[in-house]
């Protein structure tokens, strides 16, 4: 096991960057923002704040990771976020449902959406991008029918507490995030379903030939992202105090950014929950740090775009130089 001739320090640094490049960028960001405004950025309050703000994106991106692991795509979860928000608020405010019942209904609807997406993709064999673009458009229509386009405001206090309560100083959304991510991690790495999803994503034909229930597992992945989006939607509407038709739209691209960033963490090109968490943190901390520094909008866009590119390019470049990249 001799190392190639150009080994030594350079080689070790490259190997390190190939594995941990994305994490290095995260660390550099924290150090940079911390140095720029230590009092504000590194305050305990702000750190909890960042976690709290990440909670929603983390839950949704975690769900999205399942679909991506299975080699599929979902463009409809943003509308599920909006729908579940509108629906839960609407059922509480307009139909007088109890909070738990309303949330359960929102989750149930999300399961149905996931089943529909999964059915279209796995059994009707519609390309996932078209299928979920179609369902997302239909969902938008449903959102409009239910809300007539207008936000539904929460008046009951109980519901907004979901976003406001703290346990031991930790906001409820952060706790929910932790629980959801834990479940997602365990199910992906320690169950047959997760194992099969990974197989399907890596080589669907091989998985099918090996007798893996490709259809059922794919449907399950779409249900997972649906449910996660619904949980996110409930938290979101509790946080902003109303359900809105477009409330979830902003999560579409940022969840993809977080998940794809995550795919470059440690394992090359594979989606996994821990990676996604790192991706979420990079996205959230960039936004938070830049807002604290009072950066102009254009600077925010420039920096966020560059961080995204560098975070991924660092590890891919190192891998390429090492020649580890499987072409």
């Amino acid at each position: 096991m001799t190392l190639p001739t150009y080994a030594g320090a350079g080689h070790r640094i490259l190997s390190f960057l190939a594995r941990y490049g994305t994490l290095v960028v995260l660390a550099l960001m924290i150090i940079g923002f911390g140095a720029a405004s230590p009092a504000a950025f590194l305050s305990e309050r702000n750190l909890i704040n960042v976690l709290n703000q990440s909670a929603l994106l983390a839950i949704v991106s975690g769900g999205l990771t399942y679909v991506l692991v299975a080699g599929q795509f979902d463009l409809s979860f943003a509308n599920v976020i909006s729908l579940s928000g509108i629906l839960s608020v609407g059922l509480i405010e307009r139909s007088g449902w109890p909070i738990a019942g309303a949330i359960a209904a929102a989750l149930a609807v999300a399961v149905v959406v996931g089943l529909a997406n999964g059915f279209l993709v796995a059994y009707v064999r519609v390309n996932a991008i078209v299928a979920t673009l179609g369902t997302s458009t239909v969902l938008l229509g449903v959102n409009f029918i239910y809300s007539n386009g207008a936000p539904i405001t929460v008046s009951a206090g109980g519901f907004t507490n979901i976003a406001r309560d703290r346990i031991l100083g930790i906001p409820a959304p952060v706790l929910i995030m932790a629980a959801v991510l834990l479940v997602l991690w365990v199910a992906l790495n320690r169950t047959l379903l997760g194992h099969h999803l990974q197989a399907i994503g890596s080589n669907p034909a091989a998985a099918r030939l090996a007798g893996v229930g490709v259809g059922r597992a794919t449907v399950a992945a779409f249900v997972v992202v649906g449910v996660c989006a619904a949980i996110g939607g409930v938290i979101l509407s509790a946080r902003i105090g109303s359900g809105m038709v477009t409330a979830g739209d902003g999560f579409l691209l940022s969840a993809f950014a977080a998940s794809f960033l995550g795919a470059s963490v440690v394992r090359d090109g594979q989606f996994h929950i821990v990676g996604t968490i790192v991706g979420v943190l990079i996205v959230s901390i960039a936004a938070n740090g830049l807002a604290i520094m009072g950066a102009q909008s254009y600077a925010q866009y420039l920096v966020q775009g560059l961080i995204l590119l560098i975070a991924v390019a660092l590890s891919t470049t190192s891998r390429r130089i090492l020649g580890q990249q499987v072409s």
């Binding site: 386009g149 936000p151 105090g241």
Partner: protein, 298 residues
Amino acid sequence: STDGPAGNRGDGGARTLGIVQFSGDDVYSNSALNGAAKYAESQGWKTITVDAKGSVDGANAAMENLITRGVDALLVSVFPSSALSSGAASAAEAQIPVANWGGGLGNGVKFAADTALGDEIARRVVEDMMGHGDLLALGYRPGLPCQNREAALDKVLAGTEVKVTKQQITIPGAATSASEATLGWLASHQPQGQPIAVWACFDDPATGVASALRQAGRNDVLSYGLNGTAPALELVRKGELTATLWIDGPAQGQDLAKLLMQHLKDPTSVKSQVIGGTTKVIDRSNVESFLAEHPELR
């Protein structure tokens, strides 16, 4: 069936007002358009509404489609008239008058409603801040009303000791992006005896501001919006939003419809014009009585 082919205007049959919405979920502008639609219907007109889904190209296309379908007048909302070039040109060609609620005059758009009206609330902001302190201004420059409102704020702020940080929110996702920008800014602006305030160029981001304040547990921060939508008024009532400027959009819509009709009767009788609107700053002191007068905003 119901659609009249192009070119049969003025033959005594029911006329049609074509309406182009900015977006189906822009409640406030849609309420103004509703005001116009209600009035037109009360005058025996038919109305037909198309949703441009926030796309400026879609708005131009929608105008053309409505002209093809054979409407007698067009009412557009929010998109700047300067960006309605081809739609307005087609309208001019077909001699159909166009009014724009919130987008200003230009490109042959004959009537507009001023929805900027930002001075009043800007003065209120400075007044509440007693002329000094830190202000976060959340603007949206691609939209004309927000652009003008930001300009009005700048004018009022000039010469005061208020330090302004400006951020642009994104649409869609106004509330979420406003909330994130606010939370970040708040972290570097802790209570320090100086007044701290957040101004949002309309009420949707203002609800995001309120949620950020709630999350951060900050009740030392003043917050402002514009338009006077139901959710914003509810926040004012609960004391989570300091004040918002109510603008009577539906009345403006109705006035625009009137102008369009008058123009069709006799094009020489009305000048091209920008109509103003009734406004009122709503804060905790007057929100209850205001809501009593305007139950539709509950």
